[in-house]
Each structure stands twice: as structure tokens, then as C-alpha cells.
Symmetry: C2
Subunit: 177 residues, 2 copies
DNA sequence: TAACCCTATGCAACAAATTGCATATAATCA
DNA sequence: TGATTATATGCAATTTGTTGCATAGGGTTA
């Protein structure tokens, strides 16, 4: 399970609350790994039990208390150990491809609408990636951390571009049926 | 949950046992939706309860009895209804991208090895796709069912080619660090 | 002023997926 | 002859993911 590791990765940047992590999982690392706040809070409990993070309550006035989680030496070690274990390949489950596969039993017009919606979603994501790249990673003097994130981001960008192309292709093909 | 639908899709071709379905999920439809035999048997139970399939035990000599599942009219209706519902986009969880994102805390050599392994896996898959395409879908007179499967297959082919390219890119980039 | 969103945490129930185990027969390979 | 592979089905336990709800103060909008 890489949710644990994704959280640890976030905490290498700086100590964070569960809420901060949840927001991170809506952006940055969330481009590569999705998780809801409920999952994150549950996982943080486990990480604390294992001693990979330590948690400290901080009171704020007006707002509810925050619980700030900090990565421990053990947590960092666990992260490095994880980096040596083979990455399992992504699960590959796609409704849409199943629908193409079963084209004969599908409603073609509905499918075209779904294709359009999906293209728009990928386009939106792509624009977001471009904005982030320009804003944060367009300089010359990037350190290793930034270079890694840039590689991930550029893989994301290429993936979106290619996905949109494939969807356009598919749209054309079912138009020609 | 589209496992139910993926099973129904398989059963549009012909009545099958759970074992047959499990094998299908190791090939053909399994390219777009993965499932273990345990999942399939459990799901078949639910589909039977809903009346989407009927199941009939067939004795064989020597081998254990097979339970053959046949799609019902209700099942076919459910499939068509599903085709109109928006496809949710794939979950997008990738260990490898998380590892790039966290490059600073990773073991670079281990990561390169993992990249290589993954490239080989995608290459294997691509070859398999090409063989299937040549063998089953290379003729001129394809019916709608076949055309749908060909579209799915070609999307799979493009996806693999592009994934391999991206991995090569990433490999080059971490080599230049 | 009421309705809604943001911050902040978390429980509980359920659904889905994974892992490990169990059973039973037949054919094939070393 | 013993080991492995293939056929065929399934339970149980655990982990992971989703959905709904609860609490609670503060700001913003209609």
C-alpha cells in the first residue's frame, strides 16, 4: 500500500496536519495518488502506531486545534526501504475501454457524450499542469527535489496530451461506424 | 462498480463458467479490467441474486462439475442502462510517479531498475496486443462487435507505445541528473 | 438573518480488492 | 512414483476505498 508512503513523502517537505495533507492530495501529489481525508486520518493513526510520524496538538484561537505530524528517522528509513521495492504497476481499470470492448451492447450516442466529457476533463488537468510547471519549475537552478517533481509533472503532461489524442482517435473511429 | 458489467459483457459472447470468466479476465477483457477468480465468483453470486444471470450445473466426468452462467434479458437491459451512465475516469494510482515525485528520498539505482522492468512489461503487453490484432482483427469484413473490440485494442496499443516512450524519457532524464 | 463555505478532525458502515487457504480429480512430466 | 499443472469452485480474513454523518467556530454571500 503506497498511501502510507505518499503521506510520508509529503511530510518530507514539512510537518503537516491531516487537513494540510488532504489538501495536498487534492493537488500536487494527488496528481499521482488520490486519497480522501478519511483515508488520510486513518492512515496517520497507523503511521503514528508504527512510529513513522510523531503527532503534536497545536491550539489555535477561533479555529479547531490542529494536529501536526512530523516525520521521524524511522519514517524516513521506511521511505528509503520502500524506494528499493519494485513498484507495482497501476491497476488499469477503465470503464470507458470496457464500453468500447462491448460496443455492440452500448448506446453509441451516450458513449460519444462520455468521450467528450472525458476529453474536457483531461484538458482541464493538462492546463493545470502547465500552470504549475510555469509557476514553479520553469527556472534554471532547480535542486534535486524540484527536478524530481518536474520529471513527474512532465510525465503527467505527456500522459494527458497522449490520452486526449487517443480519445480523439476513438471519437473519430466510432463516428465512422 | 464495473466488475459486474465486465462480467455481463463477457457473457454476451457466450454462457461461461466462473473458471472461463477468470481466464477471460487474464486475457481479452482483462486488458481493460483486472479481477481475480475470488472476486468473480462472489460477483456471480450477486448477479444471480439480481436475476442478471441464470446458473446451471453441468456434470463432467473426471473433472469437477462446472456451473455455467447465462445472461438473462434483465442482465442485457442492465448492461444497456450502464452504457448510458457516465464512465468514471480511471483511478490513477501509480507508485512509480510517486517515486519520481519524491526523487530526493529515493534510491536512484533501484529506481532505474524498476523503470527497466516496467518498460519490459509494457513491451510484452504490446507484443501480445499486436499478435491478437493480427490474428483476429486484421480482416476487412468486421462486424460491429469486432470493430468495437478493435477500437479498444488499438487504444491499448497506442497507450502501451506512449507509455514506453514516457518511461524512456524519464530514464534519460534521471540519467542526466 | 439564514444559508453556505472554510477550517479541522474523526467515527461508522459498507463495498471492493487482496491474500491465503481449502477441496477434489485428472493428466502430464521427470 | 512423486511432483506439478490444469480444471473447477469457494470461504475467511484483512486491507483499502467510499459514503454518510457529526462536531464546531469563523467568515462570506444573498
Amino acid at each position: 500500500m503506497a498511501l502510507a508512503e505518499a503521506i510520508l513523502v509529503c511530510l518530507t517537505e514539512r510537518p503537516m496536519s491531516g487537513y494540510d495533507l488532504a489538501k495536498n492530495f487534492d493537488a500536487s501529489i494527488g496528481f499521482f495518488w488520490r486519497a480522501s481525508h478519511q483515508q488520510i486520518y486513518r492512515e496517520l493513526g497507523r503511521l503514528r502506531e508504527k512510529g513513522y510520524v510523531v503527532s503534536e496538538e497545536v491550539s489555535q484561537d477561533g479555529k479547531p486545534n490542529r494536529i501536526i505530524h512530523t516525520l521521524t528517522a524511522d519514517g524516513k528509513k521506511a521511505l528509503r526501504a520502500w524506494s528499493k521495492k519494485p513498484a507495482k504497476h497501476p491497476s488499469l481499470k477503465d470503464d470507458m475501454l470496457v464500453k468500447f470492448y462491448a460496443l455492440e451492447n452500448m448506446d453509441l450516442n451516450a458513449l460519444k457524450d462520455q468521450l467528450t466529457i472525458r476529453m474536457e476533463q483531461h484538458q482541464t488537468k493538462l492546463s493545470k499542469y502547465y500552470r504549475i510547471k510555469e509557476r514553479y519549475y520553469d527556472g534554471q537552478n532547480l535542486n534535486l527535489t524540484q527536478k524530481g517533481k518536474l520529471i513527474a509533472l512532465e510525465m503527467g503532461i505527456d500522459q494527458e496530451i497522449q490520452t486526449i489524442q487517443r480519445l480523439e482517435d476513438a471519437m473519430r473511429k466510432i463516428g465512422e461506424l
